[in-house]
Subunit: 674 residues, 2 copies
């Protein structure tokens, strides 16, 4: 079978002759975006063949639309024996021949990682930081002849003597006679306890968490390495599970430092772009959806561990401690093991959490819109299927409604809503737009369906906010010529590959400002060399292969209209106007790059003073991190969740009127934007 | 690939040409005893070829000893094309050719099942019976628009309103804010909750257990079948995990009835006959030992469910409820599902429990003989690997010493030691002999290594107490001719296949009574047509292919000497003599067939009045059943476990003297037996 090597990961797999390259990419575990399910229609799996010959084809025809940016759709098939080197192909539509091939995939998540880690979480951290994952150094007495104490008994005695569980509100009266030990050791930890106690003469570190009056041990560790090495780090993982994008941080639980950050598309995308289509899909394939998102998360954890171990994440001490000549892979193994990830904090919307856990999501969609669960107790990673320490407690941010989920309560942790005396409007813009409006007296929450436009979905040349994405455009008012700004474009020389969420906002604003489109988002008659008209359709060309058409603008306007009208409706419901707002906190995958003036021009945001706006990036992820490293923040989040009054927009009389009024650039009520 | 059919289970598998039949038996999941590990040395996997031709061989030579009963060791190999029909072969030494074969394996466990279920447990049952697995009928309110209650919330509310957890000593003050629900639903149960609540308008039965102040839900059931059928039974399983034999009962948790009973050799036997050799084996292959015993238990559960569903177990109502023309297999599925086994109770010696759980057993064997654990809280079946409902609570009988395990505390439940005012000597005779001596004031416990002789191991023609086993022998004092009694021999016409534990006791007693052996267990010079002498060796022939030699008698005498001297030593340690004993309770796989006079003749038991003896069979299993169906019995067992003072015989000065004195028939101190 021919060997296929995938760059930049440099992973080689053997593939049967005639098999699609995509199968090889999956085998190799390398990242290839296939939101269309490998049907050859989205063009997102484009890759360059560096050497070898392949069978590639594009049978979609020119009229099928799709991502023209890759610039390969005019080439169809290749002659026998012809070398394909240098060709860009869709790996889902390309089959291997009986010869080795080297393929280069676009670097997927590097830039996005830095971007997501950019949310400023440090100011939200309380001074005294203690996680729900606790640890304690114990000295366990050696075994003695006929003292009637097993290893577990002596461990439990040392634990009780060292940890004052009375402080933890533990009451011994709740015990049954057979359950006198208030410390619980999972079978897997008990299995190794005899060796661990004897290895260090009873000197061990126990990691545990509290669960309804029980101290549940997660792991036992012999502590510092006998041969002078540094003990494996104690790690935690914070995950934001978005409908479109999954993002995570791996944190050092001792220092609180974020060691690595990774993002990827949620592998459920192939099963539907929004939560409603996912719920429909779950009717038949609930297990598949669970496996897909678990695959995404577990894959990202592996990547994050590798990059953290190689020092690219943050921690200089890690690099510093490398032994002479040590193999980087060995070092990665030594420092950062999946088993050393001993706690996790997840945030996601209500549907995403249902799908992750394999819960029937059907009744989220059907009146009276009742999910299976809002709040979960700490689960174990093994129960969920996270590939970290199987006993690790997993905290899942509580939801408050079918469409205001844990991503929002998590995000609220990063805002003044967590207690600050201000009236705050918190807008999280993703596939769904969720809004919180509140102060110290009340918090109202609602959600609207924005669609994937803000994350690059539903836009012909859309893409995630990663390297190569056009994030901003300036259009010359005279010539209509675009000046484009690409993520990673200046230093790293990334070529434009598509348009991300902030890019589409910028383009729409500039086209509108320059009069190239009207307030309905249609191209005007104004003459411009960059507008390509063909019959009734027209599109604006940004560069070779990347353009924006009216369907893209339509999708965008519906998205921004949904978000803006949701804000307005919830404010109406409490009799407030924008003038009453002290602060507007914007979150979302595009947040850091969002140009405020552009957002006001298109009517996504109202015309308030610049100083009232704050952009926090992925607050769901940042909040998950805060709950991970601080038990006090976790308690705060649950308090916020209980305070939120959920408003169902479909039941609010004014919502449809507000929405219709917002389907213009910027709005029918022009006063809001002046 | 040729198809191989195994009778009596009538399971057909495809096997590669040249593969051993044993591999086919494993593939088919049929029972084949291979204590020698498939080396062709034990002869226990003998089977009859009913049709087809196979390659069989016996390259051990006549001098290798082993089970001559099968009578096939003179036939070696077969000619090409020769039909093997009618031949008895060792399936471990027989390879398939390229043609279909039908093989009949001996029926393994039918009789043994009845035997094990024979222990009289009903008298030990308390009048008020409530298991640690509890159930409650709930009416859960329907979902309501914007009431802020998820399915889990409404379920928890109904649960709290119906079950008074205050009665269960539950204190709400121990709760953390995020863990306000004192009812815990595993993710797997939560997953189906939406459908279950809606299927019956909120009428459900919840199965749960209490765990440190939490009510943990095991399963939720819609109750009676809408189409008029009978709901699946609520089942539990009690298991005795012996070093040699695993036995289990499946019980109807509603009526307490034992629906089925199964036994099999512990598949760990191939890895060593006694606990010490198992512990040594675990040094390298701990995982394998765990998998082997789990395989045995899970296999027996499947068999028990099938036989119970087909009514062979007990329950007439099951048969009665069969729908017209319903396929028996469908019926089995409908009534008795692994998922409906919602609780389990396990008893085993300390080493067996360590190996089942995968715990390092090494320090049981090494001074100061400290096991990893004596008492375990309730675990889940999923955590252990039992193939029943994954959330089922599993109770494991507590151990009190490295060699006085949960099998003994479990057995003690069936004796007066559970409170009755008498002084009781409890002897459990298995691979290990364990002894309890106690009354209402004290209980002392100790253990000795008897070896597998009492379970048919270490005896050339030994076998388990199942169909075909010689359980009793009467020898004509004049001619020395044996009259043999075979399990299943009268009505079912089972042919003698080997000698079980009670058989070897009977044979030794009769040989000694008739003067054919002396008090050291050696054959005398007495002339007898049934004694076959060959050089320095001699053996007594019971029938074609079954005989007893001096090595067998040696093994037996060491076994009985170990048990008797252990009894004596523990009585010495508290200054008691046999005259002080009110009752002697005998347990063990052979118990029901043990002839008291024979046992006294060989010096296994002292010469006390018949009325003081009681035979209870497998008390470990019976006790596991009692703890399964009665929470009060479970609490009692834990009380007993705490009261037992463990005596280490290796530290008792008199034990070796007592042991040496007991290596005679009946004993050097003849007064004890007169």
């Amino acid at each position: 079978m021919p060997e296929i090597t995938f760059l930049p990961d440099n992973i080689t797999v053997s593939l049967a002759e005639g098999a699609p390259l995509l199968e090889g990419a999956r085998l190799a575990g390398v990242f290839a975006e296939t939101p269309c399910g490998g049907k050859g229609t989205c063009g997102k799996c484009a890759a360059r063949v560096l050497s070898g010959s392949v069978d590639f084809r594009d049978d979609r025809g020119a009229a099928a639309g799709g991502n023209a940016s890759a610039g390969f759709f005019n080439e169809t098939g290749n002659k026998a024996g012809e070398n394909s080197a240098g060709r860009t192909v869709l790996i889902c539509r390309t089959n291997v021949k009986n010869e080795p091939v080297v393929v280069e995939l676009p670097k997927a998540s590097g830039e996005a990682g830095k971007f997501d880690a950019g949310a400023d979480v440090s100011r939200c951290l309380p001074e005294s930081r203690e996680s729900f994952l606790k640890s304690v150094r114990l000295t366990v007495a050696p075994p003695a002849f006929l003292d009637g104490l097993s290893d577990a008994d002596r461990f439990a005695r040392a634990f009780r003597e060292t940890v004052n569980l009375a402080d933890e509100k533990y009451t011994d009266a709740t015990r049954m006679p057979t359950e006198r030990a208030e410390v619980r050791l999972p079978v897997g930890v008990l299995a190794e306890l005899p060796e661990k106690l004897r290895a260090k003469n009873g000197e061990v570190t126990a990691y545990y968490y509290l669960d309804g009056g029980l101290a549940r041990v997660v792991d036992i560790d012999g502590g510092t390495d006998a041969d002078g090495g540094v003990a494996a780090k104690n790690l935690g993982v914070a995950v934001d599970i978005g409908t479109t994008t999954v993002a995570l941080w791996v944190a050092d639980m001792d220092s609180g430092a974020v060691l690595a950050s990774e993002t990827a598309y949620n592998a459920q995308i192939e099963c539907g772009l929004d939560v409603i289509s996912r719920i429909n899909y779950a009717g038949k394939y609930r297990r598949e959806l669970k496996d897909r998102v678990l695959g995404t998360i577990n894959g990202l954890i592996g990547k994050a561990l590798t990059s953290a171990a190689h020092g690219s994440g943050a921690d200089a001490a890690l690099l510093h401690s490398q032994k002479d000549g040590e193999n980087p892979q060995v070092k990665a193994e030594r420092f950062l093991k999946r088993g050393a990830i001993r706690c996790a904090s997840l945030a996601g919307n209500t549907t995403m959490i249902h799908l992750l856990l394999g819960l029937v999501p059907e009744y989220i969609r059907l009146a009276p819109y009742t999910p299976a669960v809002f709040e979960l107790p700490l689960c174990s990673a093994g129960e969920i299927g996270l590939n970290i320490n199987e006993n690790a407690p997993v905290y899942i941010a509580p939801a408050v409604g079918s469409y205001v989920g844990g991503d929002i309560t998590s995000g609220a942790l990063c805002t003044g809503l967590a207690g600050g005396g201000e009236t705050v409007l918190f807008i999280d813009i993703g596939t769904n737009g969720e809004i919180l409006l509140g102060n110290d007296e009340f918090i109202f929450g609602c959600a609207c369906s924005a669609g994937p436009a803000f994350e690059g979905g539903g836009i012909k040349c859309g893409m995630r906010a990663s390297a190569g994405a056009i994030e901003r455009v300036v259009i010359d008012p005279m010539t209509g010529a675009p000046e484009i700004f690409v993520i990673g474009g200046s230093g790293n020389g990334a070529k434009p590959a598509g348009i991300c969420g902030s890019g589409i906002i910028s383009i729409a604003a500039e086209l509108f400002r320059t009069g190239l489109i009207d307030s309905a988002g249609k191209f005007t008659d104004r003459d411009c060399a960059y507008i390509v008209r063909s019959g009734k359709t027209a599109e604006y060309r940004l560069c070779e292969g990347i353009s924006v058409g009216e369907p893209d603008l339509d999708n965008f306007i519906r998205a921004k209209g949904a978000v803006f009208s949701a804000c307005r409706t919830i404010m109406d419901s409490v009799g407030m106007s924008f003038a009453d707002i002290d602060r507007v906190v914007i979150a979302g995958g595009f947040g850091r790059f969002l140009n405020l003036e552009d957002a006001r021009t298109v009517g996504l945001l109202p015309r308030l003073p610049d100083g009232k706006y704050e952009f926090l990036g992925n607050t769901s992820l940042a909040g998950a991190y805060l709950a991970l490293v601080s038990e006090e923040r976790r308690a705060k989040e649950n308090e916020i969740a209980r305070r939120i009054t959920y408003v169902d927009l479909s039941g609010e009389a004014g919502y449809m009127d507000n929405y219709t009024a917002a389907l213009f650039l910027p709005h029918t009520d022009i006063e809001l934007f002046q």
